[in-house]
């Protein structure tokens, strides 16, 4: 299958035609058996195959049509094929097999195309990796704050519960005080009870305000002390 390289259009030696008998052997055979002119032994040879001439030619590996019979035989494609199948026998100039319009130098290794493809692939992969990385970074950042968020949430819940508990406790205390004040069991929904409750609430509020004010003042003092000392 490996044909050797040739620099110009040359002919390699064709296949050696195999002779049926050697010349030496021919001399030994009796004269009647020597096959000198085989064609003449059949003078009345008639082609009874019924084949059309072009088909016979094809069977004999020669060009089917010597003269063009149809427009098809004049097409480039047909003549190239004829050259391909029958070689020089096809009387076709191999020049027509080459496409003169196309410059073969265009078919040089397109390195830039390859590089572009590689670059596109690389960019796509990098983008995907970047997306994954961004998401992971985002999650990492959030994980750092997680403990803080947890603490905040617990504190909030605790505060809410504490506040509600404090409110209930305060209510109970006031009711108890009013009861003590009255000295006997009074119904909570009673008018007098309610009046007393309101009074007590007011006093309680005042007290709380006082306490808050004091706390604020103490804070301010502490800050001032810090400033003056530093």
């Amino acid at each position: 299958m490996n044909l050797r390289k040739i620099n110009a259009v040359t002919r390699l030696p064709g296949l050696r035609t195999c002779l049926p008998y050697s010349k030496a052997a021919n001399a030994e055979l009796p004269a009647s058996m020597v096959n000198n002119e085989p064609e003449e032994s059949y003078p009345n040879a008639v082609d009874r195959s019924g084949l059309l001439p072009q088909h016979k030619n094809v069977l004999l590996n020669t060009l089917p049509y010597e003269e063009p019979h149809s427009w098809i035989h004049l097409t480039e494609k047909y003549q190239r094929q004829a050259y391909g199948r029958y070689g020089a026998k096809s009387k076709v100039n191999p020049k027509i097999c080459f496409d003169s319009a196309k410059d073969p130098r265009e078919q040089v290794m397109q390195l830039d195309t390859l590089l572009k493809m590689l670059e596109k692939n690389r960019a796509q992969k990098a983008e995907e990796q970047q997306k994954i990385q961004d998401r992971e970074d985002d999650i990492a950042k959030k994980m750092e704050k997680l403990q803080q968020w947890k603490a905040d949430l617990h504190a909030k819940i605790a505060k809410r519960e504490a506040d509600s508990a404090a409110a209930i406790a305060r209510k109970e205390r006031l009711v108890e005080e009013v009861r003590r004040h009255f000295g006997f069991k009074v119904d909570t929904r009673d008018e007098r009870f309610k009046e007393m409750l309101e009074q007590k609430e007011k006093e309680d509020k005042k007290k709380q305000k006082e306490a808050k004010r004091k706390a604020k003042e103490e804070k301010m003092m502490a800050r001032l002390v810090e400033k003056t000392s530093s």
């Binding site: 044909l3 190239r80 391909g84 195309t113």
Partner: protein, 286 residues
């Protein structure tokens, strides 16, 4: 463990005393016999398994698949793309290393020449159908342990283990891409040369194949040769064999024969007009 011993003792005792196992002694397989409950008499009759009143007894059931209002499962998916794009996917018919070894041992393949698609198809036992999107052969690892041939082979896909197996025996493996036209040329070169057209150049791989063929790990034909030689060493260390020195080999030249990325046949360049009847090569005079 004591429990097991008790049961096995029990079983043996049973075996000793019970009659021989026969068809008449056997119980049918569980759930093989259905109990045909006739709609008559005490157990099959009366309400006939439909309960009391309600849509059940009145046989007014919801349609099959209805999920009481939400989108039912059988309507959630308008289509399933089972074979989407399958007609455009590249296929690589497999050749096992066992097959390859058998072909070599039975002299179907000549190992003194580089092996490519043409060689494999010319053996007459392997066929490639480029028209059915078969883009070449892949070497599989079946028979990898008994592979003992030193060859220079070019396929379209090979796994790491296969590459290791071939290089272990002092051979050379390469993966190369051939576009469909080049494949048609290789599968039946005679038919191609009868067209009387000069050899065209091979095309570059498509976008999704470029990464595979530029990777030295796959011994891609577009990869850096230095990286390939480095990877040969790495692979030898990974699979635990001594990397044979092909430079010292007598068949070094044959083993290192490689096609240019634009070349289709060994020894023939694109642009040459080859005639197999006259055995001539015609070239452009530039």
């Amino acid at each position: 463990m004591a429990h097991l011993r008790e049961t096995s003792d029990k079983a043996l005792k049973l075996l000793r005393t019970l009659p021989r196992v026969q068809i008449g002694n056997l119980r049918p397989n569980p759930n093989s016999k259905q109990n045909d409950k006739r709609g008559r008499a005490q157990h099959g009759g009366d309400k006939h398994g439909a309960g009391n009143k309600g849509s059940g007894q009145r046989q007014n059931f919801m349609r099959l698949g209805y999920e009481t209002g939400n989108q039912p499962f059988y309507l959630r998916f308008p289509y399933e793309p089972y074979y989407k794009g399958h007609h455009m996917k590249r296929q690589y018919p497999p050749i096992s290393l066992l097959q390859l070894q058998v072909l070599i041992d039975t002299n179907r393949i000549d190992t003194s020449q580089p092996i490519d698609i043409s060689t494999l198809c010319n053996s007459g036992l392997l066929k490639l159908k480029p028209a059915e999107l078969e883009y070449g052969f892949q070497l599989t690892d079946d028979g990898l342990d008994n592979f003992k041939a030193k060859i220079n082979i070019e396929v379209q896909h090979a796994s790491e283990a296969v590459i290791a197996a071939i290089e272990k025996n002092g051979g050379v493996i390469r993966t190369a891409y051939y576009d469909p036209r080049s494949l048609h040329m290789l599968v039946n070169p005679k038919k191609w040369f009868q067209k009387g057209v000069p050899i065209p150049s091979r095309m570059l791989p498509p976008q999704d194949a470029v990464d595979y063929y530029t990777n030295p790990k796959n011994r891609g034909y577009l990869a850096n040769p230095e990286e390939i030689s480095q990877d040969r060493l790495v692979l030898a260390q990974k699979y635990g064999y001594e990397l044979p020195k092909i430079e010292k080999d007598s068949a070094y030249e044959m083993l290192t024969t490689a096609k240019d990325p634009r070349q289709v046949f060994y020894g023939l360049e694109p642009g040459w007009l080859v005639n197999i009847v006259d055995k001539t090569i015609t070239k452009r005079k530039d």
